[in-house]
């Protein structure tokens, strides 16, 4: 059986998820996903503090896919090769978990891994200072500011960001990122 990004989330109950999407993450898909999740959080009367954190983490996660997902490998089935990814948001007893998967060019893997490892090793105060440093001193590009979205997710969740890579071929790696917004 050929590889599918869904293989990276085989441990998740995607049928019972609050949100599940796989495909090209364009602006319209982001709008629809945010509307859907916000509606569900309002319907379940989730506390405003949690609702806002979840919404913010989802915005950054979806826009990470929009801006940073590398092209899908040649031969992989996708209607378009760009902005291709998968997102699952599920509710656990301890909070809301947002998981995204996408392809990363092999040449970008080390940099991304180092960035995430640095974030996970930082204290909340160090994460805050790094965020401010990038905000104040880096120039913005059409893709945003390097790594600010990941730092924002780390600050808003207060948890380490779980991530894993799986080699697809010599040029491409599949990548999974998971953030948890705790409700306790």
């Amino acid at each position: 059986m050929s590889f599918d990004l869904e293989n990276l989330v085989s441990d998740l109950d995607i049928r019972g998820a609050v949100l599940y999407f796989k495909g090209n993450v364009d602006s319209e898909i982001i709008n629809r996903a945010l509307d859907l999740v916000e509606g569900k959080l309002l319907a379940t009367r989730e506390a405003p503090r949690i609702r806002k954190k979840v919404y913010n983490v989802l915005v950054e996660s979806l826009q990470n896919l929009y801006h940073h997902a590398d092209l899908v490998p040649r031969g992989y089935h996708a209607s378009r090769p760009d902005r291709y990814g998968l997102v699952v948001m599920d509710k656990l007893g301890k909070g809301y978990r947002v998981t995204t998967c996408n392809f990363v060019s092999a040449v970008h893997v080390r940099e991304l891994e180092e960035k995430l490892t640095r974030i996970n090793r930082s204290s909340p105060e160090e994460t805050k200072e790094l965020y401010k440093e990038i905000l104040n001193h880096q120039e913005i590009t059409e893709k945003g500011l390097g790594g600010l979205g990941l730092l924002d997710i780390a600050r808003k969740t207060g948890h380490r960001i779980d991530f894993r890579f799986r080699k697809y071929d010599n040029q491409n790696t599949a990548f999974r990122l998971t953030a948890l917004v705790a409700t306790e």
Binding site: Y66, L145, L148
Partner: protein, 126 residues
């Protein structure tokens, strides 16, 4: 100078910049994929206002959500206000945050620590 008045959308904030009153407001959600495109005309307008600012400028920021791409553009707005403040004109920045929204309060504190203009943090109690 003609004022800037922009209606809000689900992804972009409402904006009211009035040079005759010296009151500026950004309100709502700022989560577009391309924030630079949205904020560029605002910062260009401020570049003109900076040439002849009023003695007092009052800025109200009432954001519900903003993404990291907007955060840099908002900082660029504040840097222009900082330049007005440095030129011996009074600038007041009011940063509104909803009750219990510790993340929005913290975001205001981040800007306050970067920009040398006094921020007033105002909690909105529902």
């Amino acid at each position: 100078m003609e004022p800037i008045i922009i209606e809000g959308t689900p992804k972009t904030p409402s904006v009211k910049f009035d040079a005759t009153e010296g009151t500026f407001e950004i309100k709502g959600r700022s989560i577009p994929e391309n924030s630079v495109e949205f904020y560029k005309p605002l910062n260009e307008w401020l570049d003109n206002y900076m040439q002849v600012p009023l003695d007092k400028t009052v800025v109200n920021i009432r954001l519900e959500y903003f993404n990291t791409s907007s955060s840099k553009c908002i900082l660029d707005v504040f840097k222009r206000l900082e330049a007005i403040h440095k030129s011996k004109h009074d600038v007041e920045i009011n940063w509104f945050y909803e009750e219990d929204d510790e993340d929005m309060l913290e975001a205001g504190e981040d800007y306050d620590s970067i920009i040398k203009v006094p921020f007033k943090m105002i909690e909105i109690v529902e």
